[in-house]
């Protein structure tokens, strides 16, 4: 979890008009990044890990695809709260959770892959 990639310095692309970052560049982040500030979900072996992630309001969560196969990170809610572009191997997606609640999501290419983020 102590991966020091700082999403703050990455190119921001708004998805659905709210704070989502599509991460194309791997810039070294400033040292001392708090682990709780930038939790990471790993996509590995056709699953999201952890499958339930609990964070506090205002947290930016980053997903990293570590599979040989592309995946997406898409909100299961209607309307969708967040939706990544397709992530090839090692590509990342970040989203800032501004409101408390439970956010189920899935991979729209492999919809059996489901997980959720709980924001408190």
């Amino acid at each position: 979890m102590r991966r020091s990639v700082s999403v703050a310095v990455l190119i921001a692309v708004a998805v659905l008009g709210v704070g989502a970052w599509s991460v194309g560049a791997k810039s070294p982040g400033p040292a001392g990044q708090q682990k709780a500030d930038a939790p990471e979900v790993k996509i590995d072996n056709f699953s999201f890990g952890p499958s339930t992630l609990t964070v506090s309001v205002g947290t930016i969560v980053t997903w990293t695809n570590r599979d040989d196969i592309p995946h997406t990170v898409v909100s299961s809610d209607d309307p969708k709260v967040f939706k990544s572009k397709v992530l090839d191997t090692d590509e990342k997606f970040s989203f800032k959770f501004e409101k408390a609640g439970t956010y189920p999501y899935f991979c729209s290419i492999h919809p059996k892959m489901t997980a959720k983020v709980i924001v408190q």
Partner: protein
């Protein structure tokens, strides 16, 4: 000794090792030329017959011929470059060579989706370029989920959707056989399987309504229209309804891709069949933690990739489906 080490030992020279796995492109293709044993299958009258590739030459070409024949290719995944197959263009070319070498030239090709790996224009371009060298010039496509990434399938429709309905479904007739291309990779729901959707089902019901019961039907779609392994998403939510519209027909063949391995099943009047990938194999249902690409020793790769050659013989109950590996 790992398969890669074995391969390294057998190789005489390594020119470019892009994947740091001891296999360069030339070596990879050379390796494939040493491919081991494989098998192909014939289903006739609902009965599966299996032949080893070495017996293909012994088979009477007349047995494979009929009034109509075509070949199915699937899951080219152009753009994939990981260890499971660093040269998907090379293996697609081998598939084309195989088609061109058939005793009976198929009248057309069906591509059952995942043409591209990441829906990139250059990936589609490469596949089209390679398929230009196939003797059959007509290619009928349906999209896989990898072909409709990011744009809800707009690019796919622009390229292949001429004359199609909705997300790209269509039908056509060839020598008395009614072919139906279905799309079950759009609007997939969390936790769900492939989906045809209300509009497409309604169209299908109408499309077959006027046909005689004796008309042979061939349905092709990317994700299997039968429950191969729902735990991995290998099935289609509303396929039962689609198949209910086809109950009156005496001969229905369903051709799918997606699962990167051959599988057959006969259920009443319907023969289900999945084709191998021209790119990389996937594990058997439940035989691995996930359906990710299966890494096999390069010398075995071609025996798990393939094409499907289908002959229609008038008067027979079902189509004969012949699976052929890429060796």
């Amino acid at each position: 000794m790992s398969p890669t080490d074995k391969f390294k030992e057998a190789q005489d020279k390594l020119l470019h090792d892009h994947n740091h796995d001891g296999i360069d492109r030339r070596g990879f293709l050379k390796c494939m030329a040493w491919a081991g044993t494989g098998a192909f299958c014939v289903i006739r009258g609902g009965v599966l017959r299996s032949y080893s590739m070495s017996r293909l030459a012994e088979m009477d070409p007349k047995e494979m011929a009929g009034e109509l024949s075509f070949a199915q290719i699937s899951d080219s995944h152009m753009g994939f470059n990981k260890a499971a197959n660093p040269d998907v263009a090379g293996t697609l070319k081998v598939a084309v060579d195989k088609i061109n070498g058939l005793a009976v030239t198929p009248e057309f090709l069906l591509h059952t989706g995942d043409i591209s790996h990441l829906s990139k224009p250059e990936e589609f371009d490469t596949v089209e370029q390679i398929l230009k060298s196939a003797k059959p010039q007509d290619v009928f496509y349906v999209p896989g989920e990898h072909d409709v990434l990011n744009d809800d399938g707009k690019q796919f429709l622009d390229r292949y959707g001429k004359g199609s309905k909705g997300a790209g479904w269509y039908s056509f007739d060839k020598k008395g056989v009614h072919f139906i291309g279905l799309v079950n990779v759009m609007n997939l729901k969390a936790g769900g399987l492939g989906t045809l959707g209300h509009d497409q089902l309604e169209w299908l019901e109408d499309d077959v309504k006027h046909l005689k019961q004796s008309t042979p039907i061939v349905v092709f779609a990317h994700i299997p229209l039968w429950s191969v392994y729902p735990e991995w998403g290998w099935g289609t939510e509303d396929s039962a309804q689609a198949l209910s519209y086809l109950k009156k027909f005496g001969s229905v063949t369903v051709l799918n891709g997606h699962i990167h391995q051959t599988m057959q099943k006969v259920e009443g009047n319907v023969t289900f069949h999945t084709a191998a990938s021209t790119a990389f194999p996937q594990p058997q249902p439940g035989k691995a933690d996930s359906p990710g690409p299966m890494k096999v020793p390069a010398e075995q790769l071609k025996s798990v990739l393939g094409i499907t050659d289908v002959s229609f013989v008038r008067g027979k109950q079902a189509l004969g489906v012949v699976d052929s590996t890429l060796e």
